[in-house]
């Protein structure tokens, strides 16, 4: 009887143990950084393999240089498949990355001893992603394997520089020397990349609206002069028919306009050069629920302040969350839900 009870207890413990964890160590859907790679047979993308834990391999050799020496025939890596796995420096597509952005390509080349490549941000997430290397790069005089990662960045990644590391694995799973690359993740709240480069001045003020479901929600701001700024009429100055300057103050986008879902779910009213003054009424309007039952939103107000480092940075002064039901959708026929009045001094 005691043995039976013990067996039952063990079975129950095992069940509870893997039932109470909210994630599997092989599933990375909750990670802030996710990776896919081109299907070598089909046309689509395949999910990379997530592995919990730190990225294996030797940290980058030269801390200041930032990159290990690329593989070369003289080094032996390219001469045969038995050499250590080595990667060339990480190549990025473009220099602008944003919170919440998807499908950004990171690529590179790998020595002939490389079977797969591991990727992770040094300071983000709980593990790394593995993708197999692709075909040999025929355009290169030195025979090297190609690798290509399509990366998704969660909107929760803090804006600023983050260190991306990559490492090659040989046929036994032994990792080589890591490569690293600092990547600037720009904020969804327009800050002129101030979070990465403190020397660049941020805008004077920003009113930001974000929401959680793919509905057409609009930020509406009533200026002291009575002008209602909204995505349909996005600038703080009355247009006169002539071209507007690129940095005109106004709302930066009409997200999910007409239920054409862009997934950004953020609208910002930005004052670039001149700090606004006076009493501003902030409204949130549900233009179209896009078949969503409800939408939860957050309004934030940022202003530029001088930080401890002497530079100018955006500081969040105000934040308010709220919810709109689908029955509030008005197709733009009126003003939306009043959130608050904010006084810029």
């Amino acid at each position: 009887m005691r043995a039976e009870l013990l067996a039952c207890g063990l079975a129950l413990s095992a069940a509870v143990a893997f039932g109470c964890s909210d994630r599997s160590p092989q599933v990375g859907t909750g990670e802030p950084f996710r990776v896919r790679y081109p299907d070598p047979i089909g046309k689509g993308l395949l999910d990379g393999q997530f592995v919990q834990g730190p990225l294996p391999g030797t940290p980058p050799l030269a801390e200041d240089a930032g990159e290990a020496a690329p593989p070369s025939p003289e080094g032996g890596a390219a001469a045969g498949a038995s050499g250590p796995p080595e990667l060339t420096p990480i190549e990025l597509s473009g220099n602008v990355y944003f919170q919440g952005q998807g499908n950004r390509v990171v690529r590179g080349l790998a020595s002939l001893g490389t079977y797969s490549v591991g990727l992770r941000f040094e300071d983000l997430g709980d593990g790394y992603w593995v993708i197999p290397v692709g075909a040999i790069d025929t355009a290169n005089s030195t025979p090297l394997y190609t690798w290509e990662a399509h990366c998704d960045f969660a909107s929760t990644i803090p804006a600023g520089y983050h260190e991306l590391r990559a490492v090659g694995f040989d046929e036994h799973g032994v990792a080589g020397v890591q490569q690293k690359k600092d990547i600037c993740i720009g904020s969804l709240v327009p800050d002129n990349f101030n979070s990465c480069e403190g020397s660049i001045a941020p805008p004077q003020a920003v009113i930001s609206l974000t929401w959680d479901t793919n509905a057409d929600v609009d930020l509406q701001v009533l200026e002291p002069g009575g002008r209602l700024v909204e995505p349909k009429d996005p600038t703080t100055v009355e247009p006169d028919g002539g071209p507007l300057p690129r940095d005109v103050d106004g709302i930066d986008r009409d997200s999910n306009a007409g239920c054409a879902i862009d997934g950004i779910r953020t609208e910002n009213l930005v004052w670039h050069k001149v700090m606004p003054h006076g009493r501003y009424g902030i409204y949130v309007n549900l233009f179209d629920a896009c078949k969503q039952p409800a939408v939860r939103f957050e309004v934030e107000v940022y202003t530029s302040v001088t930080g401890a480092d002497g530079g100018r940075h955006l500081h969040r002064y105000y934040s308010q969350v709220g919810e709109l039901l689908d029955i509030s959708a008005n197709g733009g026929s009126g003003r939306g839900l009043f959130v608050t009045e904010f006084i810029f001094k």
Partner: protein, 407 residues
């Protein structure tokens, strides 16, 4: 004897003896599941990835009425597998000839029109109410995602021989290629099982059969599209550069849909032995198929440009421990594509997509009334990758605790 013990060795062809009244029956299967691969996230499109949950797996209510020459049967199923759902599981209108008073002996001939379980093999028509294991095997569920289809069936038995021939739409319930219980092509699927069942003594029975299924699958052609402008941020700068980022997409014509051949052939054998401990049941089945996967790795040789070969087999054993307990073990293997290739380092290499499941089971029984069962499925597949990029086992074992109470 077999019907009384709850072991119908030739399911789908056994008619109950005539009853002058309506016969109501039903059962409820509620369970708690724990999945190793569960995660508190949503898949693209909103599918819930958390699978650690309580589920009403089956809530079935059946009403039947028999006359000398006819039978009508309606079974309703309610479940919460993909959210609350209520649907018709079976709706059979039958003409019956040559009934037997022996409940183990089917009528000589029975002609059924309606929605019924496909007579393929042993597992597909074996009713979940009496099956000890939680679900059918991986291969059976992939090839026949749901048991019932709509059509016409001719079945019966003479002596030890059993037969069932069905002509159906060929799109069974729960199939995932888009047309469950409907039929996108005029060709009907033919399914039959020819078998035998014999009681060597009151303590020993043996049965078996061969099955065949042939039909046509449907590969839908895409709809027509209008002209449109496409944007691709070629240099990832977040700006629209007309010269490099904008493309004109011309209107595309609708493409014709196409049919393809699909088939399956199988064999099954069942042994039933009663000892002082209780009933022991050993059964096994093997199925070879082509282009028939409609539930797991959907087979479409038009898109894939080559036929897909599937192979499934299993061996299962259950042992009653007196009338109040049961233990069981099942070993099943399913290979959804015997010719699959994996791209690694620029080369296409053959590899095995085989899914092997080991399912030990134990339970307590209130005879004829209730069952409390627990099953652990150890699943070996090739859905994950090692550090080297080679396909390896994805950790997706699962526990299921189920309570079944019969009406």
């Amino acid at each position: 004897m077999l019907a009384t013990a709850g072991y119908t060795l030739t399911p789908g062809v056994s008619a109950e003896p005539v009853s002058k009244d309506f016969v109501f029956s039903g059962y409820l299967q509620s369970q708690y599941e724990l999945h190793q691969d569960s995660t508190d996230q949503l898949r693209q499109g909103g599918v819930i990835l958390n699978q650690n949950r309580f589920v009403l797996r089956r809530g079935r209510f059946k009403i039947a009425r028999d006359w000398d020459w006819a039978q009508v049967l309606l079974e309703i199923d309610g479940n919460t597998v993909r959210g609350p759902a209520m649907r018709i599981q079976k709706a059979e209108a039958s003409l019956v000839y040559g009934r037997s008073k022996d409940r183990d002996q089917p009528p000589l001939a029975q002609l059924t029109l309606g929605q019924f379980d496909l007579p393929f093999g042993f597992e597909v028509p074996y009713v979940p109410k009496v099956r000890w294991f939680m679900e059918r095997t991986q291969g059976s569920r992939a090839l026949y995602p749901g048991e019932p289809d709509v059509g016409l069936r001719f079945s019966g038995g003479l002596g030890f021989a059993r037969y069932a021939v069905a002509v159906t739409n060929g799109e069974p319930l729960d199939e995932k290629s888009g047309y469950p219980l409907q039929d996108p092509n005029a060709t009907k699927d033919v399914t039959f099982r020819l078998g035998a069942e014999t009681k060597a003594s009151r303590w020993f029975a043996v049965a078996g059969g061969v099955s065949y299924n042939r039909g046509k699958g449907f590969s839908p052609g895409p709809d027509a599209t209008k002209s449109s402008i496409g944007f691709k941020d070629s240099n990832d700068n977040g700006l629209v550069d007309p010269a490099t980022d904008l493309t004109g997409n011309t209107a595309q014509a609708a493409q014709p849909s196409r049919n393809f051949e699909r088939w399956a052939v199988g064999g099954d054998v069942e042994l039933l032995l009663r000892t002082d401990l209780g009933w022991s049941m050993l059964y096994a089945e093997v199925v070879a198929a082509s282009n028939l996967d409609r539930g797991l790795v959907i087979a479409d040789p038009i898109l894939g440009q080559s036929d897909v070969r599937e192979l499934a087999y299993y061996v299962a054993f259950t042992q009653e421990i007196t009338r109040y307990g049961v233990v069981g073990f099942r070993y099943d293997v399913y290979d959804p594509n015997s010719d699959v290739l994996d791209g690694r380092r620029g080369k296409l290499l053959p590899f095995s997509q085989k899914i092997t499941t080991l399912s030990p089971l134990a339970g307590l029984v209130l005879p004829g009334r209730a069952r409390l069962l627990v099953e652990y499925d150890v699943i070996h597949d090739a859905l994950a990758r090692t550090r080297v990029g080679v396909p390896t086992d994805f950790h997706n074992n699962q526990w299921t605790l189920r309570l079944q109470v019969n009406l």
